[in-house]
Amino acid sequence: MANTVVKTILDVIRVWAENLARHWGIPPVFVSILAWIAAFVFVIVLVLLMVLLAVYLERKVSGYIQSRLGPMRVGPIGLFQTPMDALKILTKEDIVPRDADKIMHTIGPVFFFVVAVAGYVVIPWDRGAIAARVVDLNIGVLLVMALSSLGLLGIMVGGWGSNNKWSLLGAMRAVAQMISYEVALLLAIVCVVMQAGSLSLAAITADQGGSLLQWNILRWWMWPALLLYVIASAAESKRIPFDIPEAESELVSGYHTEYSGMKFGFFFLGEYAHLFVIALIGTILFLGGWQSPLPGSIADFVPGFIWLMAKALAIIIITMWVRWTLPRLRVDQLMQFAWKGLVPLGFVAILVTGLAVALGLGGGGI
Amino acid sequence: MILPPVGLLHYLILSVCLFCFGLLAVITRRHAIGILLGIELMLNSANINLVAFSHFLSPPHPVLDGQVFALMVIALAACEAAVGLAIILRFYRQTTVTDVADAKLLKW
């Protein structure tokens, strides 16, 4: 219901804008360029808001777990603490080490942030609401994974460019960890793609429509893939128990040791943007994306966008809970776990999913 | 000025340029990894050719053999990079040399 209401409003706005463009004689190419710019602005604003929210939540959740209150002073229940910190970071001095490679030191964080935000263009926010529909046609999931592996290059460039042993070690750890866990993550995604029969995120969401039981999390043959995805995506977002790239008791703070001011801000923003995109992808792959849990009931009155956000936030809160509960792994344990534990599990997951799809349990797979 | 629409020739000329830069890198770079970079560039120019032929010379219904070949080339390039880097690392560890000009133990 509400889905259709939102869609109708969007359609009205679109038709109005198109008529206006025709009236002013603007060629359609520029209209589509303007649409791209609008989508870009929407994504950037959304990412920044979500980062603010996530940082606030992180502080509150950690406070709750450690039996304290968290930020309370600035604004009601500390709500304005994070925006104030953002302002503070903007005014800080940008320090570049004397022997650092100036160009690489600058490119690293900017590249990291840009790539992390670029992943949002293929997220289906609601029925038919994707920023880059052309790209999502057939490669949505693959593109998100590709961009997430590109983010690694920002870390490497920044870590090497800082000319600091902690930075370099942190960057190398990050590379080793993320390449290893990316394999596991891709194996988990292959299962979902086999189930849905498409690489498009919109099609994967549509495959889980109809009822709550159609969600991949409630299909028993997807459970190995789900386990794999949960572990590998936690490692991919570099959070405890997988935060050895910036383990502060060993490496000061890893690859961003030598960063301050806005460059550090880019790393920070990029990291939370990446965390959020991983949560969104997890929602789309396993929790039905923008679908409401009980279609045909009163839950339909909540727009799909809200459902997507709520599910993603739930995932983020769970990762925070994990972060403040578990200890950190050692480097060799981490690598062994990836290659000797998760990758074989990935093959098992593909086998199970393939059997289920071949036996007709799955959706449009084969 | 009216330029001809972007067609096969544009992509082929571009790929020739990339190939020549790759060749030049292989010939002139002294660092062993620089040579590897040049080879990657040449492989990529071949890929552009394959995809361009598949795109511009195929009838309306898609014939994608060129893209399949490009996929194979990418897979083989990954193998080549892994083995090449392993050899370079091994060589560096034994001789602490990365310049190919200094690798002259077997030179007559």
């Binding site: 359609p28 190419v29 690489m104 490119i107 790209v135 057939n138 593109l143 590709a146 590109l150 290059l153 490497m156 090497w160 000319n163 600091n164 370099l168 190398m172 590379v175 390449i179 | 330029l3 629409p5 096969l8 340029c17 990339l18 190939f19 020549c20 060749l23 890198a25 002139t28 770079r29 002294r30 990894i33 970079l37 990657e40 560039l41 990529n44 890929n47 995809v51 795109h55 511009f56 010379l57 009838p59 898609p62 994608l64 053999d65 893209q67 399949v68 996929l71 194979m72 990418i74 390039a77 990954a78 892994a82 880097l85 392993a86 370079i88 690392l89 560096y92 560890r93 990365t98 000009a101």
Partner: protein
């Protein structure tokens, strides 16, 4: 010439320009790590070219395997070597004297061959087919039917390359592992000297 054509041309020339400049950087930039970053930019530009040719699957694979895999691998190897490179092309002047004319000749020969060949354009080539959506499915079917043998052979080659790379790069535990570790540690603490 419509606006859409103009936009197509603009997109092609911008992406192609970035790619060529980056490729030139691979040759002429002195430090090897910067050359590797130039290669990365060229790879991303080539992914953009695939996008312009409606090869969306290849775009994603190029970013995932080339930019996110091979370029990362090469950067990682450079970090392990942690040695300053000699001036890229300046060190090899002799090679440049031979190499530059040879390359220019190659460029002219191949470019002439490309320009003066008669290409058999089929009707409809160069247009994006309406069912571009099913590219992935078609490529998958081709891989498992007409090109099955090549596909399987590639997988065997990849396995061999994997095992071979591990065996080649593995340290000799029997001989001088103690020295190796000590050397690495001192290398790391003084590493990245620029």
């Amino acid at each position: 010439m419509t606006w859409a054509d103009w936009f197509d041309q603009l997109a092609f020339f911008v992406v192609a320009g970035i790619t060529i400049v980056a490729a030139a950087g691979v040759v002429f930039v002195p430090r090897i790590i910067h050359a590797c970053l130039c290669l990365l930019v060229a790879l991303i530009g080539i992914a953009g070219l695939y996008g312009l040719m409606a090869a969306h699957l290849l775009l994603a694979i190029q970013l995932l395997v080339y930019a996110g895999g091979i370029a990362v691998l090469i950067l990682f190897a450079i970090m392990l070597l942690h040695r300053r490179s000699d001036g890229g092309i300046l060190g090899g002047t002799r090679n440049l004297i031979i190499g530059l004319p040879a390359t220019v000749i190659v460029w002219f020969v191949v470019a002439a061959a490309v320009i003066f060949s008669k290409w058999h354009y089929l009707p409809g080539g160069g247009t994006v087919s309406p069912q571009a959506d099913s590219n992935v499915r078609i490529i998958g079917e081709l891989l498992l039917s007409r090109h099955l043998l090549a596909f399987e052979l590639v997988s065997v080659v990849m396995l061999m390359a994997l095992v071979g790379a591990i065996i080649i790069a593995r340290e000799d535990r029997s001989t001088d592992s103690g020295q190796q570790v000590a050397g690495q540690q001192t290398g790391e603490s003084g590493g990245n000297a620029q």
